[in-house]
């Protein structure tokens, strides 16, 4: 399966600022996904990021708040903009590999103070 390097692993940020999370994959993948896991909760899909097209956002998530870049088949970034304490969560990237399933990065634990 693919190996995903996600960074930072954790951060503490001031409200009103932005944080960019990076996800690097060791192989070329078509589909990448970004998830949010709020404290004590399950994972919720934020958006699907395919190379060469704009990200597709799920209901409740908007591009202005969570802009995503996908410049090539091995890399993506998610920015959490104008942060508030409610954005404190674990953010995970994931890739889909045909025949294998879905592999996840180790996550970014974000605390907004």
């Amino acid at each position: 399966s693919a190996v995903i390097s996600q960074k930072p692993s954790r951060d503490i940020c001031q409200r009103g600022t932005s944080l960019t999370i990076q996800c690097q994959v060791d192989s070329q993948v078509t589909m990448m996904f970004w998830y949010r896991q709020q404290p004590g909760q399950s994972l919720t899909l934020i958006a699907t990021a395919n190379q060469g097209s704009e990200a597709t956002y799920e209901s409740g998530f908007v591009i202005d708040k969570f802009p995503i870049s996908r410049p090539n088949l091995t890399f993506s970034t998610l920015t959490v903009s104008n942060m508030s304490p409610e954005d404190s969560s674990i953010y995970l990237c994931s890739v889909e590999e045909r025949g294998y399933g879905y592999t996840f990065g180790s996550g970014t634990r974000l605390t907004v103070v």
Binding site: S1, M31, F33, S42, L43, L45, T48, Y100, G105
Partner: protein, 112 residues
């Protein structure tokens, strides 16, 4: 509405005892089915998956799961639990749009 249900929020099991975690889905077609485990402070690790074929699927760490189409279920089992199996377990499903939807998760506590 499409959904993934894990009825048990928390299960406590003695070390060496068997474990079964339930998962039901509500989709028009048979989805791709997955079980993931998340240890405290860790990412998600794939335990096993079902795409098609044999309905009894073997995974890593001694886990297995059985797909039952008539019951829309994909329950996870382990014959003998180890203390290291204490974690959060997520059932997940995907359709042809490749979007993965997760159940609420089941927390497993292992007592000595």
């Amino acid at each position: 509405a499409q959904s993934v249900t894990q009825p048990d929020i928390h299960i406590t099991v003695s070390e060496g005892a068997s474990l079964e975690l339930r998962c039901n889905y509500s989709y028009g077609a048979t989805p791709y089915l997955f079980w993931y485990v998340q240890s405290p402070g860790q990412g998600l690790q794939l335990l096993l998956k079902y795409f098609s074929g044999d309905t009894l699927v073997q995974g890593i760490k001694g886990f297995e799961a059985e797909f039952k189409r008539s019951q829309s279920s994909f329950n996870l089992r382990k014959p003998s639990v180890h203390w290291s199996d204490a974690a959060e377990y997520f059932c997940a499903v995907a359709l042809n749009d490749y979007k993965l939807s997760f159940g609420a998760g089941t927390t497993v506590t292992v007592r000595a």
